[in-house]
Amino acid sequence: MRGLLPFLASRLLRAGIALWLVSTVVFVVMRLSGDPVPLLLPSDAPQSEFARVRAELGLDRPLPVQYAVFLGHVLHGDFGQSIHFRQAAFRVVVGYLPATFELGLAAFTLALLVALPIGIVSAVKRNSVIDQATMGLALVGQSAPTFFIGILLILIVSLNLGLLPTSGREGWQSLVLPALTLGAFAMASIARLTRSAVLEVLRADYIRTARAKGVTEALVVAKHTLKNAAVPIVTITGLQFGTLLGGAVVTETVFAWPGIGRLAIQSIYNRDYPVVQCTVFVSAVLFIVINFCVDLIYGLLDPRVRSS
């Protein structure tokens, strides 16, 4: 593959700039949002005590110095000590990653398993009852806020039907509701996009030619349509996987799922700067890596992308 090296180099450079921007923005925003020290001390602690803890955490130094120290450490993979957990922030975040991966993969698999067949069937049986019902549902799935879907599922499935646990992380049963909640948005958008991508291809000349040749409808769809509709579907799917990370913040909080989304929220409440910075940084890295992979797959599926 010619041109792969420059392609990789420019991608890496862009990724580096993105990461620098992300960490700088988080650094500034967190410092604007308030002082962690009053949250750590009893309300009756004297001023000297506040000064002592501020010095202990390195918060007494001027902001530019704090920023320089922060960047220097980040280059060495060191995000500092968590204020709340009092251990290396990176270690804290890594400890929470498996739960998020587990939830993300489950949500993503569920979304694909449901969305692809629905999208294809809706396109092939366009304007049928199935099409209208599923696309209506998809619209709801795409527009309802995640916390609303989550709480609704808890109330109906778990509380009223008594089927699955309301929250926590114990066995596969407790994975179902959070995965469904987290995957709802991705499921809806993948279904809708699959439908329109397939519809588009079904209108193409080569499909008409195939039909004219007498190829059966099933073969038309399976062989000629899906392959050509794959490019936009892969794109949106890859992007959706990225947004799952964002959705995890709400889903993990609603279901008390011990992943990095929930860690991020708790750390913001605790003004735990190092952990928030590290969580955002790790999420940004994941997002960039996923996009990079999508670009590669895209290139494999569509030779035109490679040459341009």
Partner: protein, 514 residues
């Protein structure tokens, strides 16, 4: 209300869910149980089990059960014997504690006065990394251990509240030998105490497992295992209770209480908050420097309406700056009065000319802060006060506290871990306190005398006089003493604690058996 809040949406969702599935039985209906396991869900994660590293309520609910104190603050507010069976004052500055004999740490080591000295010294040790309680026992000068069963605590000045101080955070007793052998990190990961439950395992942000200490000196607890989970969102926390997955939940807001009460198997139980919700006043800022204006502001607040409408009855109207249940609370005083006509008269007498009076409030930092500020604003406008509500961030509030530059009034929730006016009121309003905006020579003299007197009768008289001065000058305008509610299965017999402890010792916790 034209705007739909998130709460309304949830209500509709709940109603919809219930309506969609009629006839299904509610899961949690049992009035008795055979359970040997108590499952508690609280609103936040546990950060530390080492009692010297934290003052967070999510942590102390647990650490007060792994560890014991020399004295024990009961849910009824009284101070009872803990690891000390009795204590008495020797002279003015020495408190002698007689230690309970035969008590063993969870690892089998005996509890002695050496542990008491070690615990208090470590609590005061600023070189202990992450120490958050080193100011709690700041009045202590040194600890002497004449024999293994006696500890004598010397204070720098007379300290009437020392036994109370030792009953709360900073005063938990930890094992000298074990802590020295495993180090701070090892101790926090695997704590050893003398308390009713002992440590089994801890999965951060998921659950903590503890088991009954079979040899507990005050009797084995009424269950085999205690599991503590963190469920940060309120609606799922309530759902977990209604479904019967958990036995006890913390932090139930008034409107969710109705759902829990409406369910046949669950109840709400509350404790009056060990403090008050007050509008603190920047009395340096005209027209708030005029006592008549502050009297009028107090007279114009319909506190009954706030309790009834905003808190659904879950609160009481205060009568002074001393919270009900605290030392020296005067039950004979009437609740703070509502009298709009008199308020108008006093404003007129004060020569009030419509100067702007600003309430600065956070939105959601304290329960009900913004709605209460808006209600108070409307009540003040009704008597002709040009009141204005400004919403600010928590961080701005913290900054204003440091720089002492509030624009007018702001919400404060003063409380005392000692259940005493000295810690609750004098700590904040006294000279140099974080809410020092108003000085009065007599008030100051009385407050200082009460702080260093070990004569409770004298202290009581001092606080009575201070109350009179307070009700004339209103350095705070007290608004409500709310309940803090918990949700319980009906088979749980348990009394909540005003200081947010989770008292599960035998005298306070029982499963109702068939």
């Amino acid at each position: 209300m034209t705007e739909m809040t998130r709460r309304d949406v949830l209500k509709i969702a709940a109603a919809g869910a219930a309506a969609a599935l009629p006839g299904l039985p509610h899961p949690a209906q049992a009035q008795t149980t055979q359970k040997r396991e108590l499952v508690v869900a609280q609103g936040g994660d546990i950060a530390f089990l080492d009692p010297h590293l934290s003052t967070s309520s999510n942590d102390i609910r647990i650490s007060f059960n792994i560890f014991d104190n020399l004295t024990s603050r009961r849910p009824d507010g009284k101070l009872a014997p803990g690891l000390a069976t009795e204590w008495k004052l020797q002279g003015q500055t020495a408190w002698a504690f007689k230690l309970r004999s035969g008590v063993k740490w969870h690892n089998g080591d005996p509890f002695t006065s050496a542990d008491v000295k070690f615990s208090i010294d470590r609590s005061l040790d600023t070189s202990l990394k992450g120490n958050r309680v080193n100011t709690v026992l700041a009045t202590v000068d040194r600890v002497e251990t004449p024999d293994p069963g006696t500890a004598v605590v010397h204070t720098k000045k007379p300290d009437p509240l020392l036994p109370a101080r030792l009953g709360f955070y900073g005063g938990q007793m930890i094992p000298k030998k074990y802590v020295e052998s495993v180090g701070p990190e090892g101790f926090n990961q695997k704590p050893v105490g003398t308390g009713p439950v002992r440590f089994v395992s801890w999965t951060k942000d998921d659950k903590l497992v503890l088991e009954a200490n079979p040899d507990y000196w005050a009797g084995r607890v009424d269950f085999d295992r205690l599991i503590v989970r963190a469920l940060p969102e309120m609606a799922p926390r309530v759902a977990a209770l209604l479904k019967g997955e958990v036995d006890l939940i913390t932090q139930v807001p008034p409107d969710q209480g109705e759902r829990i009460k409406g369910n046949p198997g669950t109840v709400v139980s509350g404790a009056l908050y060990g403090g008050l919700y007050v509008l603190a006043v920047n009395s340096k800022r005209p027209p708030l420097d005029n006592p008549l204006v502050k009297q009028a502001l107090s007279l114009a607040i319909d506190r009954e309406a706030i309790v009834k409408e905003l808190w659904r009855g879950r609160g009481v109207v205060p009568n002074s700056m001393i919270a009900k249940g605290d030392n020296h609370f005067d039950a004979s005083l009437p609740p703070l009065a509502l009298n709009p006509a008199e308020a108008k008269a006093r404003l007129k007498k004060a020569g009030y000319k419509g100067e702007e009076i600003i309430i600065e409030t956070t939105a959601g930092y304290m329960a009900g802060d913004k709605p209460m500020a808006e209600a108070v604003q409307a009540m003040w406008r009704d008597v002709g006060v040009n009141a204005k509500v400004e919403v600010f961030e928590y961080s701005v509030r913290a900054q204003r506290i440091r720089e002492k530059n509030f624009k007018g009034l702001w919400w404060s929730d003063p409380t005392s871990t000692l259940r005493d006016p000295d810690g609750m009121m004098w700590r904040l309003l006294g000279p140099g306190g974080s809410q020092d905006y108003w000085r009065h020579p007599e008030f100051d003299e009385l407050g200082n005398a009460a702080r260093f007197s070990v004569d409770e009768k004298f202290r009581g008289d001092a606080y009575k006089k201070m109350t009179q001065l307070f009700l004339e000058h209103f350095p705070w305008i007290p608004v409500i003493q709310p309940y803090e509610d918990y949700g319980l299965q009906k088979y749980v017999e348990w009394t909540p604690d005003p200081l947010q402890q989770l008292e599960i010792r035998r005298f306070n916790f029982k499963f109702r058996r068939a």
